[in-house]
Symmetry: C2
């Protein structure tokens, strides 16, 4: 009864000026995020958009919803890439598919300053956040990861969500430095070598 109405309202707001405000807010937020990271002050975003702060809060009740709206269909794209790479496993190998996708994921994390912090609760298990439109992506990653395990490309005693959390964390570790991306890549390569390390003696690393 009310479900279709809500869907319609969310998809296409009634008035033209409301759509225009939403568009302006998204553009302003993207610009502010690019310059100051996802923690850019609401007042600045509203000022850039030429609207009052109240309008910002009316359109996007909390920061997560604003960030997600700016991100748009990025998570869908990442899911599609994961599915595409799953098909490519047969020819290119499961490990290559894994690292290729994680490069894309790392690139996504580097979009704005503060993305790693923003995503941390979402990647926890059980997730603290309601999943922010990235459920499908996470599921696709799980499939890709499981395939790599089944093909013997990576060790079996690792969990898919762990790796995402770790990649996110390694990005966080280097943020704010001029060579952040380069250093995060290096740390990720190290982690991935650990992931494909095959134990020959049954002894766990560490203690």
């Amino acid at each position: 009864m009310s479900a279709p109405q809500r869907a319609t309202l969310e998809a296409a707001p009634a008035r033209a000026d409301v759509r225009r405000n939403r568009r302006r807010l998204l553009d302003a937020a993207r610009a502010a995020f690019t310059e100051g990271g996802v923690d850019a002050p609401p007042s600045e975003i509203a000022r850039r958009a030429g609207v009052g702060v109240g309008t910002l809060y009316r359109h996007f009740p909390d920061r997560a919803s604003l960030v997600d709206a700016v991100l748009g269909d990025r998570y869908d794209t990442l899911r599609d890439e994961a599915d595409r790479l799953l098909d490519a496993c047969a020819t290119s190998g499961a490990f290559a598919a894994l690292t290729t996708w994680l490069d894309l994921f790392a690139c996504h994390l580097a979009l704005f300053q503060g993305m790693a912090d923003s995503l941390r609760p979402t990647l926890l298990e059980p997730a603290v956040d309601a999943a922010r439109g990235c459920d499908a992506m996470l599921a696709a990653w799980d499939r890709l990861f499981t395939r790599a395990q089944q093909s013997g490309a990576i060790r079996r005693d690792a969990r898919p969500r762990d790796i995402l959390r770790a990649v996110n964390a390694l990005r966080w570790a280097t943020q704010g430095t001029p060579t952040a991306t380069q250093e995060a890549d290096r740390l990720r390569a190290l982690l991935l070598d650990g992931l494909r390390y095959q134990h020959t003696d049954g002894i766990r690393a560490g203690r």
Copy 2:
């Protein structure tokens, strides 16, 4: 001329009530950190200590100095442990020494909530913070790490500071969950396997 005076003043404040206030502030801060993490509000710390907020700021101008004061000689202890383990390399092996020390480091990071965030700038290179009394520890870690590289226990294309940043980040990734320590241990073990992974074909992991 003025250096000895300053040292004397820092070591033993003139008045008894000043020493008492400092002691109370440290006890209160430790308690507040334990309950609410290192970001515990100054007002709460002052209230617990039974002093005004101004007294807190007089004794500890910024939060980093308060955290470091509460930490006390922990960094010296960690440095001593690193030196001790350096001597033990001959008998127990360099890799075991490395992982043992990193376990201690990880344990240190778990002392209070928010420790990872607090330490991140300090572990950057070039360090953003003035080194917070952990220079000696970092130097000792460098020695332990170099020894492990020379003995062939770990790969040569890794940097000591990288690993510390990564271990810090992996702790950050799991903080706030009931099984944070356990999960951080698991991720660290993965990273360490990557660290001792010896390339047999010259091909780097990932692209």
